[in-house]
């Protein structure tokens, strides 16, 4: 048990038997009231978002989680398949809990996966990742109406809006949270 006031971003909690991870936290003091904490919690297994405001002195059930390195193998349309690099044990993570992750994770790459007991709770993908441009539209000369950008598709299938000078086969740095192009990467 911990006090609600101790909960921080990333703290894993058990709420009504279900694991949740805190993604946002803000302290509030209502006019002349005691201290409360406003939490935004996410269930990794269902993607459900819970907003809860608790007294900082309320008890909350925290759970101990563990991060392990896992190699992403492939997805079958419903599950992501990983292999734990230490034990070679294979695990599955429902794709629905991590929308868009099939477009930002690279097959063969190793990611930190957060586990609670044997249940994977979270996959940690770096915020900035370099991708290779697999397909690029030809830029139409003189086309400035669209603000001189075009769509490209990365090797993972992610569609990113980029400046028109980006060509197929080039490498680009992308923000994986916003899916926005950051810069061209020169080797």
């Amino acid at each position: 048990m911990i006090k609600a006031g101790q909960i921080d971003k990333g703290t894993a909690l058990l709420i009504k038997g279900q694991p949740f991870i805190c993604v946002e936290r803000e302290f509030v003091n209502p006019g002349k009231g005691s201290a409360f904490v406003r939490l935004k919690l996410k269930s990794p297994s269902t993607g459900q978002v819970l907003r809860e405001t608790m007294k900082t002195q309320d008890n909350a059930e925290d759970i101990t989680v563990e991060d392990r390195d896992c190699q992403y193998l492939y997805n079958d349309g419903e599950q992501f398949h990983f292999m734990m690099t230490e034990t070679y044990e294979q695990i599955e993570v429902p794709m629905g809990s991590f929308p868009d992750y099939q477009f930002i994770m690279k097959e063969g790459e190793t990611y930190r996966v957060t586990f609670w007991e044997h249940q994977p709770l979270d996959i940690q993908v770096p915020t900035k990742v370099v991708y290779e441009v697999a397909e690029a539209e030809e830029a139409v000369k003189g086309d400035t109406v669209t603000g001189a950008t075009k769509n490209v598709t990365t090797e993972t299938g992610l569609v990113v809006r980029v400046p028109i000078f980006i060509k197929q086969g080039e490498k680009i740095l992308v923000n994986t949270e916003t899916k926005e192009y950051l810069e061209r990467v020169n080797k």
Binding site: F27, V28, P30, G31, A35, F36, T53
Partner: protein, 317 residues
């Protein structure tokens, strides 16, 4: 700040500058305090406190002068109040208008904020203010009748029917009210214009006068952009009532902090005597950093406060 000063000066308010260190404070169990130590070389050392608000001194000046006064003051609130809208040290604008009540203070605050707004301030921090009573907000956003649920057990049932998880032990009406308010009411308050939320339940103990015949106190809170920006009282000036408040709240403060290492400030039981000759007046306390944050379209007060202590602590200084 300069614009505000000249506005107050034109309106006949006296600017005051009261100490940040005090030997005693007003007992407020919901505010965590900072204490420091006076070291006496030849006499006993003692604890001194950083003021969480200049109220304790400003009210003494009003009692002495019967004048309207204002002050920009550095204030200190301890404990976990660090976040996008909190810094342990902040600037408070406090103004007391003699002869006014809390309704007059709405018009005064509207004029102040419209005459002194930074250019480019967004609509949600510009007057005129929208107004809503707490009871109306409860009915609208949590679907319950505030006046019909004055017993702790009744309000507890409402909280449970709304799906809130409550501790097993019974808790005060006020705590349950705040749970409902923060989970269902406050996040849904309209944000297009600043909102004056008025008629607070009398169970929330403070030095605002009670509304006669109804279970409220004469106070309001001003919300802007979802942030609590100011609060206002029709100031209690009955010596007996202030003395009772002191006894009640100091007892609550001591009992809630006895087991922890939180600061228990001294209080001065002679303080309520100043109300023997005290004019009708209404005081407003406005978070000046928050106002600038909202007017300048910043997301956090950390964007405004130079050397803010939250950032310094995060850097490990």
């Amino acid at each position: 700040m300069r614009l505000m000063r000249s506005w107050f000066d034109r309106k006949g308010y006296l600017e005051v500058d009261t100490p940040i260190l005090s030997t005693h404070l007003i007992p407020e169990p919901t505010i965590a305090h900072f204490a420091t130590r006076f070291i006496g070389e030849f006499r006993p050392s003692r604890e001194l406190y950083l003021v969480p608000s200049p109220e304790v001194f400003m009210k003494q000046i009003i009692a002495d002068t019967h004048r309207s006064i204002y002050q920009f003051s550095h204030c200190f609130r301890n404990s976990e109040q660090i976040g996008n809208h909190h810094n342990p040290e902040f600037t408070m604008l406090e103004y007391y208008t003699v002869g006014a009540d809390e309704e007059d203070s709405i018009a005064i605050t509207e004029e102040l904020l419209s005459k002194t707004a930074l250019p480019g301030s967004p609509e949600h921090v510009l007057p005129p203010f929208a107004k809503m009573s707490v009871a109306e907000a409860c009915m609208r956003y949590a679907k319950f009748d505030l006046e019909k649920n004055q017993a702790p057990a009744d309000l507890r049932r409402i909280a449970q029917s709304l799906g809130l998880t409550l501790p097993h032990h019974p808790e005060s009406w006020e705590t349950t009210f705040n749970r409902i308010f923060l989970n269902f009411v406050e996040p849904n308050l309209p944000q297009e214009k600043p909102l004056v939320l008025y008629d607070y339940p009398k169970q929330i103990d403070c030095l605002a006068r009670e509304t006669s015949g109804r279970p409220y106190r004469r106070r309001w809170e001003l919300y802007a952009g979802g942030v609590e920006l100011a609060n206002c009282y029709d100031e209690e000036r009955d010596v007996q009532k202030v003395t009772e408040y002191y006894r009640r709240e100091y007892a609550a403060l001591v009992s809630s902090r006895a087991a922890s290492d939180e600061v228990i400030p001294d209080v001065n039981y002679d303080f309520p005597k100043i109300f023997t000759d005290f004019p009708q007046c209404s005081g407003v306390a406005l978070g000046f950093d928050r106002l600038l944050m909202l007017q300048g379209r910043h997301k956090t007060i950390g964007d405004l406060i130079l050397f803010n202590v939250s950032a310094m602590m995060a850097d490990g200084d």
